[in-house]
């Protein structure tokens, strides 16, 4: 049976050069077939969006990428903001920086009590960002390139229709650990590649404190479960990871399934139902 070290070795054994190529080819292919002109990408200054930016620029060229930096004053860490600005310069892409405070204040006027809840307000912030990204995408004939990674997608650690709202997710099949490796491989500055992960939806929020488990451990559990097909009892046998951590992560996977599928539709017709037994490839031309 695989131990933690074996799992970590496999997780980290990913062929970075091949991965880079597969993702770049995917972005090229998707933009060619969809005939989209521009990639619209929200940049936070974190490792996921920095890595996605590097890949999108490699695939399409800097002139076809437009970045949005969408901080909330008083919430977004200054360090992230300056990292985002330096990445934009590094990759030579056009960008717009829009502070979201006035929009959030307007929402606050409409529903004060509701937005006093930090999670509700945080998710709304993510959805405001999404709506701005799509406005730019519409205007520029672009597609919104999302930045979620596989770890986040599996445990549901993102906002449904917020940062989860995108046309394609180039790094969506890479675990956080692998994204950090790929970031360094792509020449992203080390302090960004290794920066502690945070949605920064409220002040002081970090992923690891909120999840209660580090991504190092989360990724071992997820990799064992998803890529190696380990059962719950096999995972429990891993020395150095508590049963509680395993249960907590698998519970997150299960409870967030609704975020990974099309909104459920009660099946009425015999013919295929969207999101259920409707099976068509993207790019099928009747």
């Amino acid at each position: 049976m695989a131990g933690i070290q074996d799992i970590r070795k496999k997780l980290e054994g990913i062929d970075l050069e091949l991965t880079k190529r597969l993702i770049i080819e995917f972005i090229k292919d998707y933009f060619r077939k969809s005939k989209a002109k521009r990639a619209i990408l929200g940049l936070s200054g974190g490792v996921d969006s920095a890595t996605t930016l590097a890949l999108v620029v490699s695939a399409l060229g800097s002139e076809r990428v437009h970045v949005l930096i969408l901080p909330v004053k008083g919430v977004t860490p200054e360090a992230d903001l300056s990292d985002a600005r330096s990445l934009v310069r590094k990759f030579g892409v056009s960008y717009s920086e829009l502070e979201l405070n006035s929009i959030l204040d307007s929402y606050g006027d409409l529903m004060k009590d509701i937005l006093s809840d930090k999670v509700t307000r945080g998710n709304l912030t993510a959805r405001i960002r999404m709506s701005i990204l799509y406005a730019y995408a519409n205007y520029m004939g672009g597609l919104v390139v999302g930045t979620s990674d596989k770890s986040e997608l599996l445990i549901g650690y993102y906002t449904k229709y917020g940062d989860g709202g995108a046309d394609l997710l180039p790094i969506g099949d890479l675990y956080k650990t692998q994204v950090r490796m790929l970031a360094e491989h792509l020449g992203i500055p080390k302090h960004i590649a290794r920066k502690p992960s945070s949605p920064a939806l409220w002040q002081g929020q970090t992923a690891e404190s909120e999840l209660g488990i580090s991504y190092e451990v989360i990724d071992v559990i997820l990799y064992g479960f998803v890529e190696l097909g380990m059962s719950k009892s096999e995972l429990y046998g891993l020395e150095g990871i508590s049963k509680n951590s395993i249960d907590a992560i698998l519970r997150r996977v299960s409870l967030s399934e609704h975020k990974r599928v099309f909104p459920r539709i009660p099946k009425i017709q015999r013919g295929p139902t969207v999101g259920l037994d409707w099976r068509f490839p993207v790019w099928f031309g009747l």
Binding site: R21, L22, E25, F26, D29, Y30, P272, W278, R279, F280, P281, V282, W283, F284, G285, L286
Partner: protein, 274 residues
């Protein structure tokens, strides 16, 4: 001693369009027109090339176009000389669809093979759409060589190439639609099938993205001792070819690694009794 007649095998590794048989017909026609030669030439296109493989439910909506494209291909090949082409396509019958592969020659349709083992796991859904073949179609003669077909996953079952070999196949075509996740497996499987049967293996794969799946190409021709004679590029369009000479098949089988001579038929009997 066997006569040496020139026999050329070409594998055009092209990007086919998902769900558009008539667009693929144009791609095929352009490729085929370039293939005419003084020498007997077999052109090996991949599995379900005519529909771009990853059709999912769209397979139910393209019967007419598939039939039309196959007729046009047959006409085209019949108008040419010494040219044989193998093409993967859905075969629509009254009560089922098969994942099939047809070889056309100057006299028209020469043979059709149906896939027996339909991968239905991870990304593969073939069992939802196709009916498995009932039996293994025998090889056909092209020039002085016999050619058999094991479609993609069928080559993972040594019994299929074995039956074809025992019925005389000297060249085994393995048309395929393999995503990158299968790359390492093919590297091992293909030379094994060549060596254990003393045959040339011609592997023809798709290339590029179909939806979000990447097909890795690396189409190749492998000699009866398992050596890669020629291999197409990874992940991009490319065309490779090789001359296949009967004496090299003969020598491999008679002298260098006579697996077929040494195969004990009682093993097959025992296998059939399991």
């Amino acid at each position: 001693m066997v006569r040496s007649i020139e026999f050329r095998v070409v594998v055009p590794q092209l990007e086919f369009v998902v769900g558009r048989p008539l667009e693929n017909l144009e791609i095929l026609t352009r490729a085929i027109k370039k293939m005419e030669s003084e020498v007997t030439t077999l052109v090996v296109f991949p599995e379900l090339a005519l529909v771009g493989y990853y059709t999912r439910d769209a397979i139910y909506y393209m019967e007419d176009e598939v039939e039309l494209a196959l007729e046009k291909l047959e006409e085209l090949v019949m108008s040419m000389d010494k040219l044989f082409i193998g093409i993967g396509h859905p075969e629509y019958t009254e009560d089922a669809i098969y994942n099939s592969y047809t070889i056309f020659g100057p006299k028209g349709r020469m043979g059709t093979w149906r896939k027996m083992h339909l991968p239905t796991f991870t990304m593969f859904e073939e069992g939802l759409y196709y009916r498995p073949a009932e039996h293994v179609e025998p090889p056909i003669a092209i020039g002085n060589l016999k050619v058999g077909v094991a479609i993609c996953y069928d080559a993972f079952f040594p019994e299929i190439p074995r039956i074809l070999r025992l019925k005389g196949a000297e060249i085994l075509l393995v048309p395929s639609a393999a995503p990158i996740q299968s790359r390492a497996l093919w590297k091992n499987i293909l030379p094994a099938r060549a060596i254990e049967n003393g045959v040339y293996v011609v592997y023809s794969n798709h290339v590029g993205y179909k939806d979000a799946y990447f097909f890795f190409g690396e189409s190749r021709i492998i000699d009866p001792l398992g050596n890669v004679v020629v291999q197409a590029k990874f992940g991009e369009e490319d065309t490779v070819e090789a001359q296949i000479r009967r004496p090299s098949i003969y020598k491999a089988n008679v002298r260098w690694r006579p697996t077929l001579r040494d195969l004990k038929r009682r093993v097959l009997k025992q296998l059939s009794e399991l």
